[in-house]
Amino acid sequence: MNATHEPLLAVDGLTIDLTGPGGQPGLVQDVSFEVHAGESVALIGESGCGKTMTAMAVLGLLPAGFRVAGGSIRFQGRDLLACPERELRSVRGAAIGAVFQEPMSSLDPTMRVGDQIAEARRLHLGEARKVALRRARELLDRVGIPNAEKRLAAYPHELSGGMQQRVMIASAIACDPQLVLADEPTTALDVTIQAEILELLRDLRREQGIAVLLVTHDLGVVADFCDRVVAMYAGAVVERSDVDRLFGRPAHPYTRALLDAIPQNGRPRTVLPVIRGRVPAAGQFPTGCRFEPRCAHGGHERCLQPQHEAVLPDGRATRCARVADGDLVLAEGGAR
Amino acid sequence: MTTQTAPAGTRPVTAGDPGRRTSTIRLLLRRPSAAVAGGFLLLLVVLAVLAPWISPYDPNEQDLSAAFAPYSAEHLLGGDELGRDVASRLLHAIRLALLAPLISVGVAIVLGVPSGLWAGLRRGLADTVLSRIADALLSLPGLAFALAIVAVVGPGLVNVMVALGVVFSPTLFRVVRGAAMAVAEEPYIDSSRAIGCSTSRILWVHVLPNVAAPLLVQATILMGLALLSEAGLSFLGLGVQPPDSSWGSMLRTAYDYQFRAPFAVLPPGIAVVLTVLAFNTLGDAIRDVMSARWRR
């Protein structure tokens, strides 16, 4: 957690509004976290917690209706939110690569796989098609696709899900980025393939020092792969910690409840703890703590006030005012 | 090659769905384009009915002193080559402009809907044969086929519109067939049968509501197409025959005398465009409203 130099990516106070009827100001509220060179940070949370929106904001690819209302996203020193579109385009695909969730629909069905991998190189390095395709072939080898020469000419639908995702990864690292954003890269894949993809990402990190921001809802993936964790709930960061301490000593009731909800081997005849209630719908976020309605420790007067992030003495951050004050002590231990 | 089937991931409706009957019309009315289009068509109907009373002149009354008269207080839209009042002629032709397409669409429905239902529900040999015939009919350039029928049975408005109806029927056949097939594949049809629903009940309660929506959309659009085709065929002299006149035949005389009165082509043409526009806009609006309902 100690950076000897500037963080590669520093998100500070990012706030995103969902505009229009049925919208929600502060859909993503005051999100701050850092990613240092070469490290792997997980952005975890349930569906709809805003983790994907946060990642999209880094790329400047928020869908229509979503608007950044405040904060900054500093990448290699520059505030991406203040950059004009042209500059952003020079960053996307070059210094920041992206891997998305469903490779089948995230790859152009009418374009050969080799061309899709080569695309970033042609765009950013101005390489001619043939030259870029040669590099694409090397990348296919690198991501572990056999028969790379022939595969260059294949179409996405001719490949299996796992291979498609490898192609996605190859296209994301085509220009040797410093950071790769991976939005649920393994969710749509079989468990065995998941492990292979993660293995691949880990190798790439090790060899090329690529930092990874991994957006996921799967705690198992986080445990295997990431150095640090940023946990989000209903658009707010509720806890920032490193992996070991998150799993051993969670600093927020939500993370605690998440860990408790993981089915455990060796605990027969127990009722599986479940987080009761549902994620608040957009437009209906509570003004106080957003998790309070579902929190096992909720109902306190302090919970009804807007919660702010507090840094604990050991470096972890939490958004539960009661935990920060020491008023609430969470149980230790948990799933691993 | 375009058939109307329910968008993926949607749930077909059933007659008696709560909230289904209540506000389709109201939803339509809330859209300005639909309200204007529907209002315009309604206005046309009113004008057509009232034409004999509100028309300033008899449409066939000739007054050669007013031949090619410019726009004036006496002749709002001028006079044609025989001095007849253009505005009155336009007014009286509204009736044809609304009835003629109805004939075509009626014929198309009679031919296309039962066969489409049959092909879509029964499948098998009937489906193959009917679909091939539909393909063949659709391969014929529509106007050419209508012309061929006119050659056989002779010119005349009814003949032409019936011919067009035959030309349009494969389109309705395909739409109905597609919708029927989509419904037939729904699991609840099997369960309806399993609990003993008769075929006619299934047809009425399940199939027809789902078929009605795309059918209505396509039929409305065909009304516009029919009017355009009638205008063309009457322009050629093969549709409405004298002494009757439609906007299409008015365009013909305007064309014949184009050098003498170049702007005479405008009033009947604009009338056609506005009416077809109204039909198309209404059809599009119905489609949008219906597909929004599908998504529930």
């Binding site: 992206a98 069905p109 695309e119 | -």
Partner: protein
């Protein structure tokens, strides 16, 4: 596309053509009363009627009539005009170039105007450009082609004497002369199709832009131009090509009326005259010819569709 599916498609086309031939042949049989009398006209002598009857082969059994007729068709012999005696095939081949050249030019106008407009509108959804294109397209679809032709003549030949009002010159006289005469009818013919294309293209482009793979392409740093060139065009082309196939029949039909407006002696004039004169062989020949063109166009469209959509290709 695999050879067997190619053959299947051709086979399908042939079946359709055969059905069309049956329908066309059946036309004469459907004439109420005696077709020979109808064809001969009111003032015909009994000998003339009989001559026509023999010419049309109406005195022979139905199946034999069809077989003879079909045999002739397959040999390229579509019979002879009842009025001029000219072989129908010759009449069609004589009149076709004018019609086909105008129809092709109309297609170029339609694609050249409609597709770019649709792409721009799709790229800038919700903007004034998008709404303008949508409105113009909606109006364009509602306008009768021949009326547009008359308006264009009014504007560009009568008010502004830039172009000739009527007439047609074949390409052999020079491209500029041909274009001078052909541009008004072609534009009038192609406008409705262009409007339809604009609408459709806009929808397809908007749909493609909402797809996840476009997000991936953007994440690689694509500009709008790159997106259109490398991703949108190919994916949006598929439905657009399908629309073109559907419009082929419409274009041929519209050409008939445009020819009258622009004073062109092409297939349209030939057909209309054949109807007015009850010249059945010519009419049958035209219907068969037009249907054949539409079938061929649809085959080409199917082939194009297979080429554009790799999933179909490799299945």
């Amino acid at each position: 596309m695999s050879f067997s599916s190619f053959l299947t498609r051709i086979g399908g086309g042939l079946v359709v053509l055969w059905l069309v031939s049956v329908l066309t042949f059946g036309l004469i049989q459907l004439v109420p009363g005696d077709p020979a009398e109808v064809a001969a006209g009111d003032s015909a002598t009994p000998e003339r009627v009989e001559t026509i009857r023999q010419q049309l082969g109406l005195d022979r059994p139905l199946v034999e009539q069809y077989a003879t007729w079909l045999g002739g068709v397959l040999r390229g012999d579509l019979g002879a005009s009842l009025f001029t005696g000219e072989p129908v095939t010759d009449a069609i081949l004589r009149s076709a170039p004018a019609t086909l050249s105008i129809t092709l030019l109309a297609l170029i106008v339609a694609v050249g105007l409609g597709v770019p407009a649709g792409i721009l509108a799709g790229l800038r959804q919700g903007s004034w450009l998008d709404r303008a294109v949508a409105t113009l397209a909606t109006i364009g679809i509602a306008m009768p082609g021949f009326w547009v032709g008359m308006l264009l003549i009014l504007l560009f030949a009568l008010i502004l004497p830039w172009l000739p009002a009527t007439g047609y010159e074949p390409l052999s006289e020079g491209v500029d002369v041909w274009l001078e005469h052909a541009i008004i009818p072609a534009t009038a013919l192609g406008l409705a199709t262009g409007a339809e294309l604009a609408r459709h293209t806009r929808g397809c482009v908007a749909d493609v832009l909402s797809r996840p793979y476009v997000r991936t392409a953007r994440a690689r740093g694509s500009s709008s131009f790159w997106l259109v060139r490398h991703h949108v065009l190919r994916n949006a082309a598929i439905p657009v090509v399908t629309v073109l196939g559907l419009q082929a029949g419409r274009l041929l039909g519209g050409a008939i009326i445009i020819e009258l407006v622009s004073g062109i002696h092409g297939l349209g004039t030939l057909t209309v005259n054949s109807i007015l004169q009850r010249d059945f062989p010519v009419l049958q020949g035209y219907v068969l010819f037009a249907a054949a063109i539409v079938v061929v166009v649809n085959l080409v469209v199917d082939g194009l569709y297979g080429w554009l959509n790799p999933k179909v290709r490799t299945s």
